[in-house]
Symmetry: C2
Subunit: 363 residues, 2 copies
């Protein structure tokens, strides 16, 4: 499955943005296409909270990636022209070092001894991979959702490292509504008795908490309008137990159940907590007195900011704000608002709208 994955082990210590260090952390990544002679065709992709670095299939790993219809030969990010790199976020659990990894200093998993994670650390992890690949300057850095904030952090921390930037369904900071939802997801996991302050075993994971958190995630990733059209008041086909007055008999309940079943067990709960908190903590204004001051550090030639009308986790006024404030300092900024009805997750599913939008930036 993962034989396209490459691992970069950093030598020495990795200083974390909010304090603490990691010793010889790993960074997992995949690449597609070839770096050209001028080394100027590299594209760096940051991911949302839960995906791995497997953004697209390749001969070494033919399983479909999370952005299968965007990255590939002849696709929106054409791997016949571009050398595409996708990094598993530092703090995640798909090859990069996170709370589930063994701390080489102790021989034990980090668990909650993992330092506070920031998207600035995720950005620096991406930078390390890029440098390791011998790339001085990227063609474009991009990312959806949390990956959009990681891309912003990258551009702020490493000004001039890319000429293009695409921020998708993201924003310059977390707003309290999104923080409330993420905080509640974390509490669902932490309140699961099996969580045990992070000291669960592989065979006694806090799966109930993870299921609840995933269901709330699904609710925040889609839109009311999509579900109204798609499910209405349909009942699920499976019969309910006659003595269960709270049986999940609406189709929408069965849908959430299905998605929770798919997700649970795949993602480490502690890693989820760290990445979720990192999203809450992110604020461009931490890099200056204001969002404007933070953004002013970004040195790119061209920016595209993409938003979706039905997204309520990162509502479109956040993309509008980001685009306006990036453009205020004279940058070439394009703001695209898409009419997708699938909410925040549109970048994963509404390919009819996202394919041409991303393609346009790379032509």
């Amino acid at each position: 499955m993962s034989n396209a994955r490459q691992i970069l082990t950093l030598e020495g210590e990795f200083p974390m943005h909010r304090g603490g260090i990691l010793t010889r952390p790993n960074l997992a990544y995949e690449t597609w296409g070839e770096l050209n002679e001028n080394r100027d065709n590299a594209v760096l992709v940051f991911t949302g909270l839960s995906p791995s670095a497997h953004a697209a299939s390749s001969p070494r790993d033919p399983s479909p990636g999370w952005w299968e219809q965007i990255i590939g030969p002849g696709l929106s990010i054409d791997t016949r022209r571009y050398f595409v790199i996708c990094v598993n976020s530092l703090g995640s659990c798909f090859g990069s070092t996170g709370a589930a990894s063994v701390n080489p200093e102790t021989g034990e998993p980090y668990r909650l001894s993992f330092p506070v994670l920031s998207l600035e650390d995720v950005a620096r992890g991406g930078w390390e991979v890029v440098r390791h690949l011998g790339i001085e300057r990227l063609h474009t850095v991009l990312g959806p959702s949390m990956g959009g904030m990681s891309a912003l952090a990258f551009e702020i921390l490493f000004p001039g490292m890319s000429s293009g930037l695409i921020v998708i369904s993201s924003g310059p900071r977390s707003l309290p509504f999104a923080t409330a939802l993420r905080s509640l997801q974390r509490e669902m996991i932490r309140r699961d008795p099996l969580w045990q302050n992070g000291n669960y075993d592989a065979d006694t994971m806090p799966l109930v908490g993870m299921r609840l958190a995933r269901k709330l995630g699904m609710i925040t990733y889609r839109s009311a309008e999509e579900w109204r059209v798609r499910f209405g008041r349909e009942r699920a086909s499976e019969e309910c137990e006659p003595d269960d007055p709270f049986c999940l008999d609406f189709e929408i309940e069965a849908y959430l159940e299905h998605h929770a079943n798919k997700f649970t067990g795949q993602f480490d709960p502690n890693c989820y907590l760290y990445l979720s908190r990192a999203s809450d903590l992110f604020d461009v204004a931490d890099h200056g007195a204001t969002i404007e001051a933070g953004l002013s550090k970004i040195q790119v030639d061209r920016v595209m900011v993409v938003g979706v009308e039905t997204d309520f986790l990162f509502p479109s006024h956040q993309q509008e704000e980001l685009a306006a404030k990036l453009a205020a300092s004279g940058r070439d900024v394009e703001y695209v608002l898409l009419e997708s009805i699938q909410g925040h997750d549109s970048f994963l599913v509404d390919m009819d709208r996202f394919r041409p939008t991303i393609a346009q930036f790379f032509t």
Copy 2:
């Protein structure tokens, strides 16, 4: 505290809308003002999911009610002119019979042996109180949120029982987005190990599940815009434990914690489950082939439908639909869309907008 509360005990059996019976159920209610000689000034108020019948203070119970600024002498529903009745929903836990009540047939609490609850049962409970008070026809029936659906059920089941109807921040059915949220709230409670399939004791309630459900409730009752303005990225004043990487340090997290603390222990978890499910099950179209056919049974002279722009639990297109379909059969329908930023809960907090809106109907 509750010495304004009156209890009506029904004789014999109460047949439930979706099957099963209750034996000699209680219905708790409060009244304000006086019934006039013509007995035509009575106003019946149904509540949202969680309130008791204590909608307003009175000499017998001076504690503030949940609609303190709407019901009273000289207020929007002027108790010098109107005789106001508020009923604790059947299935709730503030005096009316619900899952936490003792089944007189067994001497044990109903718990999950309580029959499936429908808002049609809540409506019939209100009708029983009205008949008990010797009222043939009401001036107006009204209710916010779940109470608005109960009011619709009342008008469909007892056509001609009132001349006026006000439906506030509600709709003709539950849509899948709202059902998803309520279903998840129920799952949070049912997944609490202390729930024990409903067989918890008073001193071992599933309080963790109730806290989580209440927090999700608060998130769905307010709006992202209100919280953006009110909390932004403010940090809470209390210090975090240095070793807790997931401490609730954003002001919005402290706010949710405060509300969860206030609520928990006040409401019986099983009753919450039954009322929540009753909201999901409600559909005017169950009373005809379509919503239109169901609504056609309603015989009132005047309707007001009130919605709030920032409500995403009962979005304003549901009130618009309800008003349009009620008006299609030639009824006198007024649709009011308010600009409140407090979302679904606006009817409880945005008194500057709700006071005059409700008052207008009663002048």
